[in-house]
Symmetry: C2
Subunit: 204 residues, 2 copies
Amino acid sequence: MSLRSALLALLSSGPLTGYDVVKQFRASVGHVWHAPDSQIYPELRKMHAEGLLSSRPVPWGSRGATKTEYTITAEGERALREWQDTPLDYVRERDPAQLKAAYFEWASPGAAAAQLRAHIEHYRQQRAQALEQIRALEDRTNPTLARRLAANPEDQWERITRFKVFAYEGQVARAEQEIAWAERGLRLLAELGDPDGPGARETP
Amino acid sequence: MSLRSALLALLSSGPLTGYDVVKQFRASVGHVWHAPDSQIYPELRKMHAEGLLSSRPVPWGSRGATKTEYTITAEGERALREWQDTPLDYVRERDPAQLKAAYFEWASPGAAAAQLRAHIEHYRQQRAQALEQIRALEDRTNPTLARRLAANPEDQWERITRFKVFAYEGQVARAEQEIAWAERGLRLLAELGDPDGPGARETP
């Protein structure tokens, strides 16, 4: 149900066409909860059918065509509050990078180090992206935030902004921790020297 | 395919009955890659059908009953190496705790702080569990590790052990980062004072 919550949160900043939901999702909440476009449109239709969103046709282009614009309903707002007030159900640990690292003795020479370097590169990109989001929130150039602030009284602006910054700070901290872990792994590999485990031997 | 890799890794320490796979999975690799028992049995049968495992009936109890014991095949070992040598496909970010935090203005008074305290509690447990695993690896009381070491030449023991410790160090570091992030969130909530956002208002 997290995609639904993410869409309700996005639409709580004001009405959007389906197309703009997809566009703004990618540029804002999608950084914290990734979803492909192909999941977003059907979910909007389901939420509309369940009364969480209302819709109306809005003109599109010059040939009398229309697009569907969605607005969060009072029921949608209630669902958003309910999500916030329901304790999170933590899922059990499933980390593919840690799983791999636990059995690095099966890796070919060089493969474990390559994996750790790719890990560092991935989380450097994640960190850069999260820092960019924080910058756009703090200087209020993030368009989704601008819409949200415009729809709320000014005494709420700091609160609204700082919660979003806080979420991305979590991404930055996690990225830094993953980078530090992989760097520790590279030092471990250097310390252990050339591999001679089952991964360095051919299967007969 | 991570469950399959985790099962191959577990069985690379020596033959196990299906029942012992489930038991040892829970006490070792399952801490890094959680899977319910109900997924493990069918996956073992599939891996057997695909030639990654061989099987033989072994006596069970005193009434002539048997259990199936699985052994990793040369093809299974090849699959294990291939998994180690294939770069990881990083999935896009999906963090339900960060998603929630980004919209804490929708939470009822007290709900955001309760969420952050539950986050801290969850990761304290994760950290304690990972530290316990590290202890059992380092003093070699972990039974799966003992089997694995017995099946490998002594000059490989340090390598095999330290990779597993390294994986759990990643869990400890992540847990500590999540705790620090949630503590930062509690300080932020204290600083912002009593909520007065949409979450504190009733839907009309």
